[in-house]
Symmetry: C2
Subunit: 682 residues, 2 copies
Amino acid sequence: MRHFIIIAGLLCLTVKADEGMWVYTNLPKAHLKSAYGFEPTPEWTEHLMKSSVRFPQGSGSFISANGLVLTNHHVAMDYLHKISTASRNIAEDGFLATSQAAEIPITDLELNQLESIEDVTKQVEGSVRAGMTTDEATAARRSTIALIEKESKDQTKLLSQVVTLYQGGQYHLYRYKVYKDVRLVFAPEFRIAFFGGDPDNFEFPRYNLDMTVVRAYENGKPAAIKHYLKWSTEGAKADELVFVSGHPGKTNRLYTVDALRFMRDVRIKYVLDLLRRREIALLLYGSTGAEAKRHSQDELFAIQNSRKVYLGQLKGLQSNEIFAQKQSEELELRAQVAADENLRHLGDAWSEVSKAQKAHNKILVKRGLLEQMHAFNSQYFMMARTLVRLADEKQKPNGDRLFEYQDGGREVLESTLFSPAPIYEDLEVAKLSESLSLLAETYGYNHPLVQKVLNGKDPQTVAEQAVAGTKLGSVAIRKLLAGSSPAELRQSHDPFIQMALAVEKQARSVRAQYDAIVETELQAYSRISQALFAVKGTSVYPDATFTLRLAYGSVKGYRTGGADVAPMTTLGGAFDHEKAHGAVDPWLLPESWHKAKANLDLTVPFNFVSTADIIGGNSGSPVVNRDGELVGLIFDGNIQSLTSSYVYDDDVSRSVSVHSAGIMEVLKNVYHAADLVKELGQ
Amino acid sequence: MRHFIIIAGLLCLTVKADEGMWVYTNLPKAHLKSAYGFEPTPEWTEHLMKSSVRFPQGSGSFISANGLVLTNHHVAMDYLHKISTASRNIAEDGFLATSQAAEIPITDLELNQLESIEDVTKQVEGSVRAGMTTDEATAARRSTIALIEKESKDQTKLLSQVVTLYQGGQYHLYRYKVYKDVRLVFAPEFRIAFFGGDPDNFEFPRYNLDMTVVRAYENGKPAAIKHYLKWSTEGAKADELVFVSGHPGKTNRLYTVDALRFMRDVRIKYVLDLLRRREIALLLYGSTGAEAKRHSQDELFAIQNSRKVYLGQLKGLQSNEIFAQKQSEELELRAQVAADENLRHLGDAWSEVSKAQKAHNKILVKRGLLEQMHAFNSQYFMMARTLVRLADEKQKPNGDRLFEYQDGGREVLESTLFSPAPIYEDLEVAKLSESLSLLAETYGYNHPLVQKVLNGKDPQTVAEQAVAGTKLGSVAIRKLLAGSSPAELRQSHDPFIQMALAVEKQARSVRAQYDAIVETELQAYSRISQALFAVKGTSVYPDATFTLRLAYGSVKGYRTGGADVAPMTTLGGAFDHEKAHGAVDPWLLPESWHKAKANLDLTVPFNFVSTADIIGGNSGSPVVNRDGELVGLIFDGNIQSLTSSYVYDDDVSRSVSVHSAGIMEVLKNVYHAADLVKELGQ
């Protein structure tokens, strides 16, 4: 039987080895020493932290003194598409810069490198006065956070973000150096980056060269980097201790039993239905021609990836196994809380969560369609929404604004809104018409809101006319509109501005309801956290928040379906795997690999698994050994790891990496990337 | 603007030309004479009727004195898969019998050929006594129908089915000769049968050789056929009058405005969500290997086809256009009814329909999941359901049984239940686990019914264990169980029998509710029909019922998106179309075509469109000219025809056919099918 260890499982006497996504300021030093005989020094820790890089939706690391950054092909793919054209398909065919001058500037890509972490819990909580209502307390915290971020930014010029940890138990200020000039150095062919495609995604054994190398520039020159990871020639070895330094996006390991039920029975179903709609719509669109396929491919893979994640989660949750464990742990903690008069005031936190789930259930669909724009799946609409809100929000004091319109997020907002990246009009029509149909299907075509948006026409016609009529394709127009007053904006005849205005009132209303629910939940989980702290002490890691974390574990296989799965695959295995699947797409290796086969050492390791505790957002994270050398590159988890959003299990759940020796072997003998190899010291 | 003409549109003074799926006993002779100067003789009519053939899910026609039958590749595809193996993929690679002895017997395929039509309205209605409740009247009609069918079968040995026409306005007894020994003569490669695949499906211009030729046998010898269609060498010509003789499945042209709304806002959404789930599940399953793909392909295409149909319907219905027209016609008829004291008693029929829609709305999901088995998508489950019901139903008098268990349907039931066709266990697991998850997602995992079925396990595990544990794969076991008493059956430990029993009570209960709703609707539409008859006379065609109908129209192009679409494509166009799409799947012509290209007359017509009024079920129908010669083979409608379930429109809606000259050209010069060509008199 699979044995699930969860954060509430810290109530158990024994903590399962290798669990946790640890904050750099609170590493599990005692455990690392006792279990692995390893003691991270402050220098080791600072070096690894500063070598780590955050991508907009993933992780990476500096790997040379001249600004080389390693990440996954799938983390960079969105950007590879943006710099691809019909005649030069970099996302599909790969790229190797023949010289530094030939490196291609990447539209929109910004990298963050963490410089410091500061605990600002006292300042944030200090702004809450006795007698304040919950709403007032929230507003006070938000306003203080906005102030702290602004002051830090003004003083240090660094990107400054306050992060809520432990469900409000702590607030940390993270300061990042931002690199805005990033250029492409190397990407392999899509076929080998995503060898096995959707069917092999989240499976192991695997054979993927899921890597891309970019270079950070400053003032038009390669950035001079002090902290970067040394490349390990040998790479990861079986059973050795490894560390993963990256940015896990979101976990929910404190979820109550009721919250898990809500996830299983309501939220995942909603999301999966939406993903299936979008997947089919993109498949249909992509089937209309080669260019359509190229334009929609990236989004399609992202959707298929999510679909597989949620199906995996659902499978894990649709069983009594997780729930029985969760339930007994929850009952035990609640009994301890009830028995301790100092904790008794925390006792209704669980029912507060349940109440919040019920309230969320009522607005889930409305929020999805209107506020999350599931009924308006369009880049133009997203821009229109931003412009409409910006006009209103900028009238308010910084602390009163919706958080994404506060000064701290201004740069991100503007770089998105003013991005010169191409918008594919046919794709916009396909996505918008499909999602407008969802609106009509959900509320009924005759519903006043639907009629307000569609005005008696069919979704396809409305989408075609809106896309044909909008001026939002022009960055200059968007900049102009971003300067508008609310009154000016309301006079715009742009069909997307009109569409955004048509649902703005309802969208804002459901947003406000949702924010209140989230705040209630946050307060309740904060109290559950307090109960846990009181019972188990503070040697606990916080849920993931897309901030830098350190995970650790062993390179180790696992047993499933009655068979042992070895921890490593080899380059030769990729050729065998291709053959076993008849060498048809998506199991077709690139020509470059076939040509190079005779020159390759086929016994070199290619991919490997470890027990390190990771989740989405960790993609592109470096895997390092005790000496801080790069031995691998995280790119996936196995299918058994998909419930790790809620629970950790080191029995069969594994993270999947590309091996540093495999990368080097193919850089040398498939891609003949002599300059790159040399810069990596090999 | 598109001009919709609908059955309620018969209220208009002018009937649009070419509308209607006419019963052979009530052809629109006056209109044919005035519009086309054509008068069908009794001989012409009988010959065409008796040359027509019904397939289990489509249409066909006799084309030689020795039993040759022409239909679509996609109508036969299910059967082509059944006779395919891993080493001989007939469904994919095609087949040509080198001699009569080489013709391959096709598992499970039975053909029906209509021998006679008899009006039995008086007998059926005569069984209804004054003072009976609606339920009693329904039971009386059903019981009489069952009796008529049984007596006819006993007397004539012909398959005898009573069909309800005009929503209960008439009852006709159809008698069919059944051919049970059917063998494959010719099928082209899947690539050319379905050239352009899902993207081109329902589009025009088209280039599909969507044909298959089988032969009916009697007593081990080719059946001697008196009525068969002569092959037209020249084939269909632009603007000529053509007839389509086939089996349109179902239309709903009497639907009230409320019924159309219910369709648009509720039913189509439910069906599309289900189809998307199944499409993705089959895509995932098919991606696991070549055999998995082969086993699931047929079902996948059927689902994609349905998905495209419903998306097309939805698009047509999500607009005020159809509704404005429908609404004004409905108001006009209701005003006439209200103004006429002889009709006034029919006036509440529309609100009866609305009430029925509301009642249907309440049980739609429950009926779908439990009675329609959407939560148990498995052949094993379907067999278990049949066995469980059979045990109970056979205890009852014939007339009291659920209709599919009455004696008239016994042969169909048994040929399905005892079919020796292979069942693919992995596919069963994939489909069942996905649908059990739907059950859990819909009701919530902890719902008593879900727990009864899943018993605390996850859907995947339940599906795996059920498929591994069942004995229903054996025809002998199924025959044994079919002889069981209800008590014996309840003692079976077979996991599928247990699963079917677990939901039987709820399924039967919702079935009874649904049957009552259908009966109410039928009564209401019957009254609306009466009102129509009273106002417009009886020169109206009934909604489609998968019985033989005659449609007619002209070979004629149309105008869409500001451009004219010519009525015909050529063989050469197929090669151009392949090139325009980069010669990648699904736009890849078979090798045989590339090899033969130089010998082909590329100017020969390949596909063509006509205004004949058809719908799903017409696939495989012969298209004949005034002389009763076969000039084409129906295989599709264009995308604009997808709302023809509800309305007919001869402006842009078209049926799509393969051209008889194109077929002959490739039979001769691509497939070198000399014997077949000779047998067709060419």
